[in-house]
């Protein structure tokens, strides 16, 4: 019950900021939350790096194991992770890019966003959870914690660690505040593409679009909340947060460089840019990136695709819930596809597109 009340509070906070608009809501939230998040992250990382035997913990994370490079799952997870954290393949970057002015510096903004993101997740994030879990629970414990998923890592493993250090309550407060701020700044950003779609393509006011989206999402949230223990959230996370990102990221890349054209794309990237992207990136964007992503997807499909689709390793009791989740995702995807088609014909009839 308590968890559900906090879900309601968080849900309402999300929609409050989205309701207030991009500048007055989302931008304002990020301007306040992001510096606080970084301050908390630096304090927590500094505390963990002062733990005894921390170099062993860092070694657990950083000592390379080249044998896993033959696993498609690792490549897929890595691509999904970086796409998710950079909001690529999910419509978010496309939506925010549409708000840019003609002369805005895409190259510098992109590099700044990517490097700041890496600072948060590699330098700070990589110095907190896994190394601390190693120090307290050893190699087997850290591996088990990492394998149990990011939810358990953040909400089960870390509280156990804070329970064993001085001023643990204070550091736990910083940790959960950090997770909350990281979560809410991401979720409000993720809502914007849907709000923009409803308001731009169906002629709804922003406020009506936010209310409609709130009602739909509230209904959709109930199944994962009540069947969290049956693996529904992990299933959604894999298809929505990893597979679909890599798939749609690949499609976006191909459309951008092969259909829109690399010369036009290169000119767009540099329009208003103070910095020039080195020329060798042109063939990388044109050939290496799309081919690399196609290889990862194909490699994953041949190595992991069938076992994942056939639910190998999923407990028998959970399989009906996983199946229901997949059917729900397919229906949702179909509904979105139909909505996009309707929006396309509405715009065509209005003469906005040829």
């Amino acid at each position: 019950m308590t968890a559900y009340v906090f879900f309601l509070i968080t849900f309402l906070i999300n929609f409050y900021f989205v309701y207030r608009g991009v500048q007055g809501g989302i931008e304002l939230l990020c301007k306040i939350a992001m510096p606080i998040l970084f301050i908390f992250g630096f304090i927590l990382a500094a505390r963990v790096l002062m733990m005894p035997h921390i170099t062993d913990g860092l070694g657990f994370l950083w000592n390379p194991d080249f044998s896993v490079l033959t696993s498609a799952k690792v490549w897929m997870a890595a691509a999904g992770q970086i796409f998710f954290t950079l909001s690529v393949g999910i419509g978010v970057i496309l939506t925010y890019a549409s708000y840019l002015k003609k002369g805005d510096d895409v190259a510098l903004s992109g590099l700044t966003a990517a490097s700041t993101n890496e600072l948060a997740e590699v330098v700070l994030g990589g110095s907190i959870v896994i190394p601390a879990a190693f120090v307290f629970f050893g190699a087997a414990g850290a591996a088990a914690a990492a394998a149990s998923g990011s939810f358990n890592l953040g909400f089960v493993t870390m509280p156990l660690i804070f329970g064993q250090i001085d001023f643990g309550g204070f550091f736990a407060l910083l940790w959960f505040a950090l997770l909350f701020l990281a979560g809410i700044t991401s979720s409000v950003s993720l809502l914007e593409p849907a709000v923009a779609f409803f308001s731009n393509d169906f002629g709804l006011t922003r406020k009506k679009a936010v209310v409609w989206l709130g009602v739909i999402l509230f209904a959709l949230c109930q199944f994962p909340i009540f069947f969290l223990g049956q693996g529904v959230v992990d299933e959604l996370d894999f298809w929505g947060g990893t597979f679909a990102l890599v798939l749609f990221g690949t499609i976006e890349t191909i459309i951008f460089v092969w259909f829109f054209g690399i010369e036009k794309a290169w000119a767009e990237i540099h329009h208003g840019a103070e910095m020039k992207i080195p020329g060798f990136y042109k063939p990388i964007i044109r050939y290496v990136t799309p081919l690399f992503l196609i290889i990862i997807l194909s490699f994953w499909f041949f190595q992991q695709g069938l076992p994942v689709i056939m639910m190998q390793g999923v407990p028998t009791a959970n399989q009906p819930y996983i199946l229901a989740t997949r059917i729900g995702l397919i229906l949702l995807f179909a509904a979105i596809a139909i909505a996009v088609r309707i929006a396309y014909y509405r715009k065509k009839q209005a003469g906005e597109i040829e």
Binding site: T55, D56, L58, G59, W62, N63, P64, D104, D105, L108, S109, L111, T112, A113, S115, T116, E118, L119, V122, V123, E274, M275
Partner: protein, 35 residues
């Protein structure tokens, strides 16, 4: 942590921090530049 671990960690941290400092320096020293 073994030698490879140190190389990977310090190499990654160094690259990321350098890029971050460079980007924010460009943003704050370029007139009328906003992210």
């Amino acid at each position: 942590m073994n030698l490879y671990g140190w190389i990977f960690m310090l190499g990654s941290w160094g690259t990321i921090i350098t890029l971050c400092v460079y980007c924010f320096w460009r943003v704050f020293t370029t007139p009328d530049k906003d992210l």
